[in-house]
């Protein structure tokens, strides 16, 4: 982006982008740690994830204030305006991603019989893909790279396929082992949360594409 005559505007935009990156970094770590906590049954780690969500929320409101201030004071136009609007929306979505991680962390204590609970081993691979999507989309945001953003959108299919496979798997496990239905149901919610994280990463990717090119990416799967 070329330099602006008003130096302060550049500084504001840089700060805004820095805040979004910081938020994203926190959300990324939360996804990883909430899943680690879930698999290992680590209550302390889960506690840390739940606490971190407050920080993410605080940064979101900081982004909101800054974005509104930029619009009010500097009246940005064209790509600058897109940048600010995208940042505003992305902050909201990243905050949601943080919420889903928090929700996963909250369910850590509710899973019983971890050692023999087979479906639990399916989650990390799915979480891995979702975490990678979030990582890539934040990189795409930092680089203003619409190509990488489109790649992230394409990856969402994999997460959805994984979700369906885990869903079937867990349901058949429930049928066979009625004793642990409540733990298995918790797991379904966890899988659902990961799937939503993937969807939200896709949303961010669309906004990155919008901020970079001015148009939303074409719907490839027609969904």
């Amino acid at each position: 982006m070329s330099e602006h005559t008003v130096k302060a505007f550049d500084e504001d935009i840089t700060r805004l982008r820095g805040l979004i990156a910081e938020m994203g970094g926190l959300a990324e770590l939360s996804i990883q740690e909430s899943l680690d906590a879930m698999v290992r049954g680590d209550g302390e780690l889960a506690e840390g994830v739940i606490k971190r969500d407050k920080k993410i929320d605080a940064i979101e409101s900081e982004v909101d204030k800054l974005a509104v201030r930029i619009i009010a004071l500097r009246a940005p136009m064209a790509d600058d305006l897109r940048e600010v609007i995208a940042a505003l929306k992305i902050a909201g979505v990243v905050e949601r991603i943080g919420d889903y991680s928090k929700n996963i962390a909250k369910r850590v204590g509710k899973i019983e019989g971890r050692g023999t609970f087979e479906p639990l081993t399916l989650l990390p691979a799915m979480g891995e893909i979702a975490a990678e999507m979030v990582h890539d989309v934040l990189t795409a945001y930092a680089a203003r790279d619409p190509v990488l953003a489109r790649e992230v959108i394409a990856t969402d299919e994999k997460v959805d396929a994984f979700y369906n496979s885990i869903f079937r798997n867990v349901v058949s496990y429930m049928v066979e082992n009625p004793a642990i239905i409540s733990s298995a149901a918790q797991l379904l919610f966890v899988a659902r949360n990961i799937e939503r994280i993937g969807d939200h990463a896709t949303n961010v990717a669309e906004m990155v594409h919008f901020a970079a090119t001015g148009s939303y990416p074409p719907d490839e799967d027609g969904a």
Binding site: T14, R15, R17, G18, L19, A21, E22, G24, G25, L26, E28, L29, R52, L122, A125, M126, E128, I129, A131, E132, H135, L138, T139, A142, A143, R144, D145, A161, F162, N164, S165, I166, N169
Partner: protein
């Protein structure tokens, strides 16, 4: 202590003359001496006080354009930040983090919470961060404050060290189990043969010896696969430099893998693609492993298609398609794990070591390519390897 300039003789003379006049005019000799002392004292202080000017000059001399030239060609990624805004990034830093980080908030480049804590504290220190350029890498970030605004950030890649320690534990955990199973049956059968001695019936002896041979061959395959895996892993961090023409290589490797008795099942559709940077021996092994798998797990009377083409993104794409039972979707993400088997019994029966795809994955990673697996239950599976085309090292503008 050093003198700077000449001694202020004029000042001293003036002080002495004034004191003399004072003494002779007022007659108060003591007062005159006191005035002289104070006067000379101030002259002394002003003259020999530590040179303050020098220090200010030093701070000013952080000339960023000079510093940037100094660090530009260093092999270590180094950045300069001005109040946490990146103002200079050397060649390596731009290569790893991307050109876009210039003039950005340092948090855009380092969004890991540990790094941000260090940046916000504006202090000297180190932080270990994960997932800087790729999601699995580990870097040590070293930040040193130069003055109130400027700071240097140096990045040290720790991924290799981390990998080595993890690889060791993995290897001990998996390989010892896999090596012990055939050994146990070899030892068992040999013990039986020894104990019974000549009393063993010839047909039993023959059967036992056959099993021992089979198990020993399995061990041999396993050891050679483990060795190629460790070789690929050892070279994982240096990119291959040789320019490779894929078409003849893929054709030869596919035929080698099939052997005389299975070559009729091969269906080759090979286009000419631009050369890629690669390691020909490893690429051959990659094709051999994929084709061997496809022939093994496809239906015995059905063909295996090997395709080579240049895709829309300009990458060379090698795909191997079998027509077999396909792979259940829940297995697909795990296929490249060492010793992972969808059906252990069947894989053992066909002489698989559980390492073939792990080797493929490592070779693909070393070539900065991608491996995609698509499968339809009941129809077959397609393994596609994409390798980026050869290009010069300079990062895109």
């Amino acid at each position: 202590m050093q003198t700077h300039g000449t001694f202020p003789w004029s000042g001293a003379t003036l002080a002495i003359v004034t004191s003399l006049i004072l003494a002779s005019a007022t007659g108060q000799f003591l007062l005159a001496v006191a005035v002289l002392l104070v006067w000379m004292g101030t002259l002394w202080l002003a003259h020999w006080s530590p040179p303050e000017v020098q220090r200010i000059k030093e701070v000013d001399s952080y000339d960023t354009s000079r510093l940037s030239r100094l660090i530009e060609n260093s092999g270590t990624p180094i950045l300069l930040t001005d109040r946490n805004r990146i103002i200079v990034a050397n060649h390596m830093a731009r290569k790893i983090l991307g050109r876009h980080i210039l003039e950005q908030d340092a948090r855009v480049a380092f969004r890991q919470p540990e790094a941000i804590a260090l940046l916000d504290a504006r202090a000297n220190g180190r932080a270990r961060i994960r997932g800087l350029a790729r999601r699995r890498d580990v870097w040590l970030l070293n930040r040193q404050q130069l003055d109130d605004d400027l700071a240097v950030i140096e990045l040290l890649n720790q991924t290799a060290e981390e990998d080595i320690s993890r690889a060791h534990t993995d290897f001990v955990a998996n390989a010892s189990h896999e090596l012990r199973t055939p050994l146990a049956s070899i030892i068992g059968y040999v013990e039986t043969l020894l104990e019974d001695g000549p009393a063993t019936k010839p047909e039993m002896r023959q059967k036992f010896l056959g099993t021992i041979l089979g198990e020993a061959k399995r061990l041999q395959n396993l050891v050679s696969d483990l060795m190629s895996l460790s070789r690929v892993e050892a070279e994982k961090h240096d990119r291959p430099q040789e320019s490779v023409r894929l078409r003849p290589l893929v054709e030869q490797a596919a035929r080698d893998a099939a052997g005389i008795d299975r070559v009729s099942r091969l269906e080759l559709r090979l286009d000419d693609v631009p050369p890629v940077l690669g390691d020909p021996r490893q690429l051959e092994q990659l094709v051999r492993n994929l084709v061997d798998n496809a022939l093994k797990y496809g239906k015995p009377d059905q063909p295996v298609t090997v395709e080579l083409l240049e895709n829309a993104a300009g990458e060379a794409a090698i795909s191997v398609t079998d027509r077999g039972d396909g792979i259940a979707p829940e297995h697909i993400p795990h296929l490249t794990r060492r010793f992972y088997r969808t059906d252990p019994g069947r894989s053992r029966a066909s002489g698989g070591t559980g390492l073939g795809l792990a080797i493929v994955k490592h070779i693909v990673e070393r070539h900065a390519g991608r491996l995609d697996i698509a499968s339809q239950r009941g129809e077959g599976s397609t393994f596609t390897v994409r390798i980026p085309r050869q290009q010069d090292d300079t990062p895109p503008a």
